[in-house]
Amino acid sequence: MFNLFKIEWLKIKTYRTFWILFLAFLVFFPLAFYFSASKYMESLSGSGRMEEQLLKAMIESPFVFPKVWLSSSWMGGLFFILLGMLFILLITNEVQYRTHRQNIIDGWSRTDFLKAKFSILIFFVLVSTALIFVSGLVVGLVFSPSKAAVFKGVYYVGYFALMATLYLMLAYLVAILIKRTGLAIIIYFAIVCILDNVLWLIFTLKNSQVGYFMPLEAVDSLVPNPFKPKIMERRTVEDYTLIIAAVLYITVYFSVIVNYFRKTDLKT
């Protein structure tokens, strides 16, 4: 697997679009996170109006331990769409340039090709998870009044890793099936931003919990919006059921990708 990743690295290390999107994520997320935290803490300490103070009091402060782990994971998820897009691009580029054919011709098996792309997926998940961890830690240390129990709630970073994996697996599936860069990215965004939320809305009406098990909602619910007051939360299903659902989705996407790609004609 590591050898396959080294070859993938040769393909992308001088690819400008890769660096633009990758660095955008690496730079903009920590900056945005830090500045949000600093603005928020500033406004909190100021003598704001009563209602404002009241609202803030209802929410546990999102930028101090332990909640900072959730906030870092949640905000990282927003920026992570950049990497989803980049991942689609890296796969559909191969189809467009027909280099996926050339890789096979040169002696990769079809599974090698899939594994090579999977190694990039793992790379993205590892790098982004590390970044979310470091950002959460730094912001937490800077803004928390007490430095006790620093790692309480750090499991949210693990939830982020699961979320990142599922989002990238969906991107992988869309890229392999759709093949065309533009269309694949549009469909990915449609699923991420519209379809999944609409499904969630439909299924959570009448107080049903089914909506939380929609393909992406399962991981989204694990990392809920930290600015939403607790009383508005209507989810009653346990975290572990959502984790199982997410792992199931990952497995299903994985098997569809493998089955499809091993049998299909490699064309543009």
Partner: protein
């Protein structure tokens, strides 16, 4: 042992039958031409044996083994169009190919020199002309000095000098004992380069064998007939005279000259003398060797099958 055997290979694209039960074997150390008009299934056939397309039926084997990725690492292939990463230099592209093949990078410079791209090795692929892209694809196929080479339309996009170079390169590789499988729609190319040929039309294998066999394996008179092109100032008078000559089977007016088909014992000299003795001076006289082209047209029919 045969380098490549295909057995009853078929491929359907929905209702289109791109290949129908094609079977043949490529002997070792030959230049094996796959000849056919555009859209006859040549690239489909090569795509299947390189595992980028999946056959609808039939099997294939490289060196007696059902196609595996490990075997492909030892085959140098140019399929259809040069496929490279547009934003990478020639050298970086070849590095990727070499890595996939599990070879070192030491012969990258060598193969770039063979195809005359060494000077441009650091230029990005998307700055290359069509002919240069084709050369790079040939260079990639040569990486690691493989014993089997597969070239699909290798002279595509090359200038006349380039075409001659590549043909010479293929012959040279064959002299070194390599087996080359080459698809082409250019008859002249196959005739000049190949030792064996498979003729394929509309996905059906029409004939296969050594070039000599395919040329000889012809039916009846046509096989041994001599073709002579000739012309005179007065075509009509010439036709009249020729009709009196024995051994002439057919006279046809082609463009501005006549083409006659004669029995095998007739030579151009005899025809010339006969005409001269009968008061006609020829301004054109050309005995045509029976070429693969005529054979090809006999086998596939004269209509283009598009």
């Amino acid at each position: 042992m045969a380098v490549l055997t295909v057995d009853n290979l078929s491929k359907n694209y929905r209702s289109v039958k791109a290949l129908q039960n094609v079977s043949f074997a490529v002997p070792e150390k030959t230049v094996f031409g796959i000849l056919g008009p555009n859209g006859s299934g040549k690239t489909t056939l090569l795509g299947i044996v390189m595992d980028v397309l999946k056959a609808s039926g039939g099997t294939y084997a490289w060196l007696g083994e059902q196609g595996t990725a490990t075997l492909r690492k030892r085959i140098g292939t140019l399929l259809e169009t040069p496929n490279f990463y547009h934003y990478l230099s020639a050298k970086d592209n070849l590095k990727i190919a070499a890595k996939i093949k599990g070879r070192g990078e030491d012969d990258i410079d060598k193969v770039l020199e063979i195809v005359n791209l060494y000077q441009r090795r650091d230029s990005k692929f998307n700055t290359y002309s069509l002919g240069m892209k084709q050369r790079l694809a040939i260079a990639a196929a040569l990486l690691g000095d493989p014993d089997i080479l597969v070239f699909d339309e290798p002279t595509n996009g090359l200038d006349p000098a380039g075409i001659a170079e590549i043909r010479e390169l293929i012959k040279e590789l064959n002299r070194k004992g390599k087996t080359i499988i080459m698809a082409s729609h250019i008859l002249d190319e196959v005739e000049k380069v190949c030792t064996h040929v498979a003729i394929i039309q509309k996905g059906v294998l029409k004939m296969v064998g050594s070039v000599k066999e395919v040329m000889a394996h012809s039916s009846g008179d046509v096989a041994n007939a001599v073709l002579i092109e000739l012309g005179a100032d007065n075509d009509e008078a010439l036709i009249k005279i020729l009709q009196q000559m024995k051994g002439i089977q057919d006279i046809a007016l082609v463009d501005h000259y006549l083409q006659i088909t004669c029995a095998e014992n007739i030579t151009a000299v005899q025809v010339n003398k006969f005409c001269f003795d009968n008061g006609i001076v020829l301004n054109r006289l050309n005995e045509k060797r029976k070429s693969l082209e005529t054979r090809f047209l006999e086998i596939t029919g004269k209509q283009s099958d598009r």
